[in-house]
Symmetry: C2
Subunit: 242 residues, 2 copies
């Protein structure tokens, strides 16, 4: 783990490997992938909602989201992605994306041509297995969101989102105690939990008054974890961490 061993895909390798880490050979094969790195500004499209893609992307830095738009101008964010995530494995198997992806913050994203990914899977079945596992984990997170939208009220939804982020960010070592980065605007939060920005604002105020959280500039501090967790009815099983 000397500084020399740093590679842009390190976080992704760690993330994908999960419980049983990749072998040396597998890791170095991943690191030899021909990647193109691009920078994005907040609100910039990474993958357009229509139009096929020939590359997979890997989040190196910053936050991105998948979303779908509606005629009335509303949009629904269906997942949030942080460094180490591979949010577009779907395009390896399906031609038409059913979602758009955009940056929520400044973001650094690596792109790998599909052909290279397919070859990688062929040569290293364990990587194929890891991709299947990753698909299942992110499907599980999506299910949790689905239930959240379906059956939780405004407080529950926001609390659940915060708890999930706390755990996910903690797993990749981005938290500082109970303080986590929170680069999303209230508008973005609203699109994620399917509320209006106005109501998100009111609910956050409610949380603040109840002493559950403190939300400053781009930083969220969880003041009362048991309390927030109770509001969220969180069952962290679905994250399948560790």
């Amino acid at each position: 783990m000397t500084p020399f061993s740093r590679h842009p895909l390190d976080a992704a390798i760690l993330n994908l490997g999960g419980a049983h880490q990749f072998s040396e050979a597998e890791q170095s094969a991943i690191k030899k992938l021909p990647i193109t790195i691009r920078l994005f500004r907040p609100q910039q499209d990474i993958v357009h909602e229509n139009g096929p893609s020939t590359q997979c992307c890997i989040i190196l830095d910053g936050w991105t989201c998948r979303h779908q738009s509606f005629e009335a101008g509303h949009r629904q964010i269906s997942s949030l992605h942080i460094p180490g995530d591979l949010p577009d494995l779907q395009s390896l198997h399906l031609n038409d994306p059913d979602f758009g992806m955009t940056a929520l913050t400044k973001a650094r994203v690596a792109f790998v041509p599909h052909a290279n990914m397919h070859r990688l899977i062929e040569r290293f079945p364990a990587i194929g297995t890891a991709f299947r596992r990753e698909a299942q984990v992110s499907a599980a997170i999506q299910r949790a969101w689905l239930s959240s939208l379906g059956r939780r009220d405004a407080r529950g939804r926001l609390a659940h989102l915060f708890c999930e982020l706390y755990l996910r960010l903690g797993a990749v070592g981005i938290t500082d105690g109970y303080i986590l980065p929170m680069p999303l605007r209230q508008t973005d939060l609203a699109d994620a939990v399917a509320l209006t920005p106005v109501h998100v604002n009111r609910t956050l105020k409610d949380f603040r008054i109840s002493g559950l959280i403190k939300l400053q500039v781009r930083k969220l501090e969880i003041l009362d974890w048991p309390g927030l967790r109770a509001v969220s009815e969180l069952n962290p099983q679905y994250l399948h961490q560790k």
Copy 2:
């Protein structure tokens, strides 16, 4: 395709194969899987929400659903499954299920031990690929549901569900023109689209009055497909059919 070629897993093979069907060798390997077939009555649990499973299941007959329960007694259905579906590939990779699965109708379900599935994937990488593809398709369907709950009103949600079912059932040849089986009770519909049974009832009445559908005993007839589709804002891309 003589009657002699009928095998309980035929539908699943067709479903999984997708665009590029399996080779003879692959197909016969699948058919040689040691399956246990069990029958379930409506509302009976197939996979419990807690407790690990050591088998994958394949729906042979009937409808099932995945769902999550909440403390207040509510439940959210996160997906519906019809014959040919493999709704529990997740358990191949993740130990703890984050959902329960129950039969919505009388159902015939085949079970295959994980070990045999893993061996199958090892020997036939194309089957591993098919499993990845299947995971992505069902994730896409879940995303569509998620957006539906988040951004559509009661009419939109129900219409969207009906349109999706029409297309999915059509793809496996279960529809008869615009008539499709609809074994779900209004309570089940409510749990799927996150409304109360009462409001589902009112919305169905509204559809009936608008001449969009006819809903009789266990049968749904779509009287005005363009109309229903307009209400649903359906973009069938996400089903990735064909």
